[in-house]
Structures are given as structure tokens and as C-alpha cells.
């Protein structure tokens, strides 16, 4: 009869108590996992929104650019520099850019715009504007044509009215907004797509046209084929102004960027601003985004470039606001988790105390007949450990399917919350992170709770007086 077997059987002496204690751990683990997963998923979402699909994990900038992001703090981008960067292992994308601000106008409407001078081919590996081209737009005319054709279910028809004016890059997004299944409702989607086609194409090399972001285009009442007027200040304070034909409308995930971006060919942007062969930044994406790898490549690149005019920065350095947002939120999340762990601790502690009280006499008998107190204490620790394991495993098993589902199908926020997120510059999605080290951490922390909650009762067992216990 080994100690483990005795401990296991002891658990089922008071099934209800074991069930209640395990359930308290189960719910705490469940809530902790879901909450933490939401947090980590959201951070990942933010990083993907802002870093991976826009700025790059590393950037090469003029040393003064971050403090004074103007065209005066640009640096020459040569084929040699490009070759040096690309020769560094672990780099997947090297994307030169000019970023500057200008007024975008169509005559009647004017708005500040972020001008992105890019290499259309290279940019595919970072923000990939081609993928963001608006290919469908829900219009009155389209809905009317669908009505004439008939056959559209009434609920779909009603939902179509809700998304009137929305632009889409693919039919999957239309299906998501209309809550349709891409496979089962393919005929309905085909019908909607056929009346919602939106023209436009990606920039070609030496193309003199521009891509305008969806919200900016709507504000300026621009469409493909129209002409965009850009006016601003160029290098050394020179006036910059020119006309550009609109080749396509793009829809960016980040609503803040979607309100202001204009993409154009890098040589045209250099010409517009008068900076010659200079760029404001070179965005770099990595095969492995972990902090360790990022810092290693950053160091390696800095050594290779060996320049006092330009500097390699990681995203945490050139985007401290995002880091602060994540860190601030992370701390509040951890505080809530600590509260949950506190609940777990007292749940387990209460059970151990009850157990000690109920079995005091039995403990006295066991020590009297020759059981060492350390073995007795070990039985108790195993019992609590088993309760902890039961709670953690069942809590994890219940959470994982839910985590996986919402990892694959992020919750799309609506109403005020969505607006708040958009105002913060993020797509209003709440994806869940999927099985990262935090699942293991939950187990370790609950194990720690078990150990902590056993300390006082263990002391009681080790100090147990047989005669007193038997009299109990």
C-alpha cells in the first residue's frame, strides 16, 4: 500500500469537498487562462497590426530621426547598404521607405496624409499593400440589382443594408460581416461579389500613380482613375506639390492608418520631396520574432553598418508608446491574476485545514502505531497536489477548446468598445493567444499555491502530539 494510493483514496473519502476544492481551482484556472489568453492574444494582435505588417521588427533610421522625424534626418539608401543588410541571416524583408506628411486634396476636400514612398515589389514583404486592395464595395446600386434578381434571403438582405458603403479586400470578409458560411453560402456570396466589384490595381515599377487608403479616399470622395493633389514641404524647406493618378484604393487593418495613407513609388516620393537617393527608414522583418533573436540581429547589423549617422532600432525602441500600452495593460492583468491565485490559495488552504481538523485523531493513531510524521505529511501533500492537478487539468481541458476556437475565430467587437479600439488605432478584434508558456505557468503557480497552503498544516503534523491527537 503505497502513500500515493492512500492519498488518492483519502481524496474520495469526502467526495463533495474534493469536488468543491477542485472546482474552485478549475474555475480559477479557466478564468485565468481565458483572461491571460485574451491579453496575450491582444498584444500579439497589436504587434501584428503595427509592427509585423507595417513598421517591421527592426528599422534603420538616421540617428536623429526618432526625435525629429523630418526629411532633414534622412540617409542615403544604396545598393551596397541593401546588400549588407540582406546578407545578415534571419532577415526576411528589407524595405526602404520615405515617410512624410502632405496635404491631400481633390479640390473640394483636403486632409493631412501620410505619404509612403515605397518599392512596390519589396513592400509586398512588409505591409503588402497589394493584398489590401479594395476589390469589393457594397453599394446602393449593387443591392438594387440583387433585389431585381431576387433570391437573396431576407436576413442577408437586411444585413447588407448594415454594411452599405463598406469596402472589402476579399469575399471572406464579406461573409464574416454577413455571418455567412463561405462554403455553404457560396452562391449568395458569388451573387453579392458579382454586383460589388471594385476596380483598381497595384503599383507597378516606375508607376507614377498612387494607392489611397479607403477612409481617406471616402473622405476625399476619390475613386480609381481620379487625380490626387499632394502639397507639402520638401527637403530643406522646398515646396513639394504634384498631381498623381489614383491606381487603387487600399483598406488597412489599422483604422488610424486607413484614415491617412497614400502609397507611391519610392523614386516619385524622392522626387516629390527632393531628397535625392535618401530614405527616412529601412523596415526589416525577421524569420524569428522572439526578443532574443531580434536583439541578436540588431547587434549584428549595427556592427556591420558601423556608422555614426544611422542606427538600427528595434520596434520597442522606435515605438515606445505601443510598449507602454502593452506593459500598462499587462500589469493590470497580472494584478487580476494575482487575485485569482489568492482565491485558489484560500480554497486549498481551507480544505487542508478542514482535513487536518477532521483527521487529527487518525493522524495520532498513525504516528502511534509507527508511521513517521514526515510520511504522514507527505500523504497530505500528495492529496493536495492531486486536488491541484485535478483542478488544473480539468480547467485547462475545458479552456483549450474555447481558446482554440477564439484563436481561429477572433471576436469582432461592436459598438463603443470597437470605436474605442479604433480610436486607439487598432482593428476591433479580440483574438485569443493559443497554448503558450502561460498554460504551463498556470500549473506551476497552482503547484506553488498547494505548497504554500500546506506549510501551516505540515507544521501542525510535524508538531503533532500523539496523546493529544488520540484524545481528540
Amino acid at each position: 500500500m503505497n502513500l500515493f494510493k492512500i492519498a488518492w483514496r483519502n481524496l474520495w473519502r469526502n467526495r463533495r469537498r474534493t469536488a468543491i476544492t477542485s472546482a474552485s481551482i478549475l474555475f480559477a484556472v479557466f478564468f485565468a487562462l481565458i483572461m491571460r489568453s485574451f491579453q496575450l492574444g491582444f498584444y500579439d494582435h497589436m504587434i501584428r497590426n503595427v509592427i509585423e505588417s507595417f513598421s517591421g521588427f527592426l528599422q534603420i533610421q538616421h540617428i536623429d530621426y526618432q526625435d525629429d522625424p523630418s526629411l532633414e534626418n534622412t540617409f542615403p539608401y544604396s545598393a551596397e547598404l541593401q546588400k549588407t543588410i540582406e546578407s545578415t541571416p534571419g532577415i526576411t524583408a528589407v524595405v526602404p521607405r520615405i515617410e512624410t506628411f502632405a496635404l491631400a486634396s481633390t479640390g473640394n476636400q483636403t486632409k493631412g496624409a501620410l505619404i509612403m514612398g515605397v518599392d512596390p515589389v519589396r513592400e509586398r514583404s512588409l505591409s503588402n499593400p497589394e493584398n489590401l486592395l479594395v476589390r469589393y464595395r457594397i453599394t446602393h446600386e449593387g443591392i438594387d440589382r440583387l433585389n431585381e434578381d431576387g433570391g437573396l434571403p431576407q436576413p442577408v438582405h437586411e444585413k447588407l443594408k448594415d454594411i452599405l458603403g463598406n469596402s472589402y479586400t476579399n469575399t471572406g470578409s464579406i461573409a464574416m460581416d454577413l455571418e455567412l458560411d463561405e462554403k455553404e453560402d457560396s452562391k449568395i456570396l458569388d451573387a453579392i461579389a458579382s454586383v460589388s466589384h471594385f476596380p483598381g490595381r497595384y503599383l507597378e515599377n516606375q508607376d507614377d500613380g498612387v494607392l489611397v487608403s479607403d477612409r481617406l479616399a471616402k473622405y476625399l470622395r476619390l475613386t480609381v482613375g481620379d487625380t490626387l493633389i499632394l502639397m507639402g514641404q520638401g527637403y530643406h524647406g522646398a515646396t513639394a506639390a504634384d498631381l498623381y493618378p489614383v491606381r487603387g484604393i487600399i483598406k488597412l487593418i489599422n483604422p488610424e492608418l486607413d484614415n491617412k495613407i497614400v502609397y507611391m513609388n519610392l523614386p516619385y516620393a524622392q522626387d516629390f520631396t527632393g531628397v535625392g537617393d535618401k530614405v527616412t527608414a529601412v523596415g526589416i522583418n525577421l524569420a524569428d520574432n522572439s526578443d532574443k533573436n531580434m536583439l541578436a540581429i540588431q547587434r549584428s547589423l549595427a556592427e556591420k553598418l558601423n556608422s555614426d549617422k544611422i542606427k538600427v532600432k528595434n520596434w520597442k525602441e522606435f515605438n515606445p508608446v505601443l510598449v507602454q500600452q502593452i506593459e500598462g495593460d499587462n500589469q493590470s492583468g497580472k494584478a487580476f491574476l494575482a487575485l485569482l491565485y489568492f482565491v485558489i490559495f484560500f480554497g486549498i488552504f481551507g480544505t487542508v485545514l478542514m482535513m487536518i481538523h477532521e483527521r487529527h485523531r487518525e493522524f495520532g493513531m498513525l504516528v502511534s502505531i509507527g508511521m513517521r510524521k514526515t510520511k504522514l505529511a507527505l500523504i497530505m501533500v500528495i492529496e493536495m497536489f492531486l486536488i491541484g492537478v485535478l483542478g488544473v487539468i480539468s480547467g485547462t481541458v475545458i479552456s483549450l477548446p474555447l481558446l482554440y476556437y477564439f484563436h481561429i475565430h477572433p471576436i469582432r467587437l461592436t459598438g463603443g468598445l470597437a470605436q474605442t479600439m479604433e480610436d486607439m488605432g487598432f482593428d476591433p478584434l479580440m483574438p485569443l493567444a493559443w497554448t503558450e508558456s502561460y498554460v504551463i505557468w498556470q500549473g506551476l503557480i497552482v503547484a506553488l499555491m498547494v505548497v504554500l497552503s500546506c506549510l501551516y498544516p505540515l507544521r501542525k503534523v510535524l508538531k503533532l502530539k500523539e496523546t493529544e491527537a488520540l484524545r481528540n
Binding site: 500500500m1 492512500i6 483514496r9 483519502n10 474520495w12 473519502r13 485523531r361 487518525e362 493513531m365 498513525l366 504516528v367 502511534s368 502505531i369 509507527g370 508511521m371 513517521r372 510524521k373 514526515t374 510520511k375 500523539e466 496523546t467 488520540l470
Partner: protein, 232 residues
């Protein structure tokens, strides 16, 4: 051969307000194969004496030797191990481990002694047969009557092959049939296998079966009587 020797044993409980003199200078010897009962009114010191004999409590003065070992000098796990190998206990309220079967309860004590599994099993069966529970090996305590549980407790006490068995009011919770049954078994074990039993009891039926009756009052031995057939 002397199994237990008590020399001028005293026990004083120091309460915050009073000093309670529970045992006052007792000198006693127990020989191998005795079947002795310690009797006396409540509060006379029977249980205190039994606890000290079992190494569960320490005397305030005097010496207790078991098989030549001064047990009041043993501490902690050495004392626990000494009990495991030398003393068997039968308690008033059986005190079996509720989650173990009769067989496991008996085997458990031998497992603590690290005896080989095959020998453990053989002795468990033998002991449970002896106490008449050969057919209840796999019953848990809650499926056994009080008398049956106490018989398992006796088998458990015997399992470690102790020098003697201490039984504190073993019949207090049993009906007359179960009491007779239990006493017959213990008497038989004493007679046939020379196992030493020391009881603390109020029960006249136990006293009747005992070969030696030690009466204590106010912490002192006032009578130490031997039945005729067992006069040393």
C-alpha cells in the same frame, strides 16, 4: 524474561494554574506472556500509565525500560520506529485506516517495517484467519461490525511482531457477544503464542479473563494480584 520495567515512574501535568500528579512513583515489571489488566476508577492514571508504556507520553521522573531500552531517552523518529517494531496498539474506538481494507490495514504496518511483499501477504492472511476474518480480507472498516473492526485492530497490532500489545479499553464499544469473542481470541493468542497483552479497562469481563490485575488509584498501584493458575 522481563519485557517491561518501570522504576519509580512519576507523571506530573503542569497546568497554568495547577500541578496534576497523575502517576506517583510506580514500580512495575511485566514478564513475557502476561495477560494483565490495569484497572481503576476514572482519573486514576490508567491511560497515562498505558501511554507511557507505549512511548506516547514521557514520565516526569523515573525510568521505563522495554527489552532493555530506556524509552524515555528516545525522541522523534527513533521513538516512532521503536514503537513500530516493539509495541502493538489496540484502541478503544478501533482506529483502523478507513480507506484501507482489512487486509491492507494489517499489511500496512508490515510495509512500514519494509518486510517483503510475499511475507507480508502470508502473515496478513494468517493473522486475519486467526481472528476469524479470513473471509473479510477485502472489506473496508465501514463494512465491518465493531467487533470485527476490533479483531482487525488486534491482527494489525500483532502484524509487527511486537514485544507486547497495549489495549486501551478495547471492549468499551462492543456488545457482550463481540466482547467475549474478542477476549477469547486474545486469550488464545496469549496462551498459544505467548503474546503479552496489557489492558487498561473498566470492563469486568476483561478483568475476569486477566491473569494479573493491577489496580491503581490516585496514580499509585494499590493492588497487584495474580490469579492462582498464573502465580509466578
Amino acid at each position: 524474561m522481563k519485557v517491561i520495567e518501570l522504576k519509580n515512574v512519576e507523571k506530573i501535568y503542569n497546568d497554568s494554574e495547577f500541578k496534576v500528579h497523575a502517576i506517583r512513583g510506580i514500580d512495575l515489571d511485566f514478564e513475557e506472556g502476561e495477560f494483565a489488566a490495569i484497572v481503576g476508577p476514572s482519573g486514576s492514571g490508567k491511560t497515562t500509565l498505558l501511554n507511557m508504556l507505549g512511548g506516547l507520553d514521557k514520565p516526569s521522573a523515573g525510568d521505563i525500560m522495554i527489552g532493555g531500552t530506556h524509552i524515555n531517552e528516545l525522541k522523534g523518529s527513533k521513538l516512532i520506529d521503536f514503537r513500530l517494531h516493539n509495541i502493538g496498539f489496540v484502541f478503544q474506538s478501533y482506529n483502523l485506516i478507513p480507506v484501507l481494507t482489512a487486509k491492507e490495514n494489517v499489511e500496512f504496518i508490515m510495509q512500514m517495517q519494509r518486510r517483503p511483499a510475499a511475507k507480508r501477504l502470508e502473515r496478513t492472511r494468517e493473522l486475519l484467519e486467526k481472528v476469524g476474518l479470513g473471509d473479510r480480507l477485502n472489506s473496508r472498516p465501514n463494512k465491518l461490525s465493531g467487533g470485527q473492526q476490533q479483531r482487525v485492530a488486534v491482527a494489525r497490532a500483532l502484524a509487527s511482531k511486537p514485544r507486547f500489545i497495549l489495549a486501551d479499553e478495547p471492549t468499551a464499544n462492543l456488545d457482550s457477544v463481540s466482547t467475549e469473542n474478542l477476549l477469547d481470541i486474545m486469550e488464545q493468542l496469549n496462551r498459544e503464542e505467548k503474546i503479552t497483552f496489557i489492558f487498561s479497562t473498566h470492563d469486568a469481563r476483561v478483568v475476569k479473563k486477566a491473569k494479573r490485575v493491577i489496580t491503581i488509584e490516585d496514580g499509585k498501584v494499590i493492588r497487584d494480584e495474580w490469579k492462582e493458575e498464573d502465580v509466578r
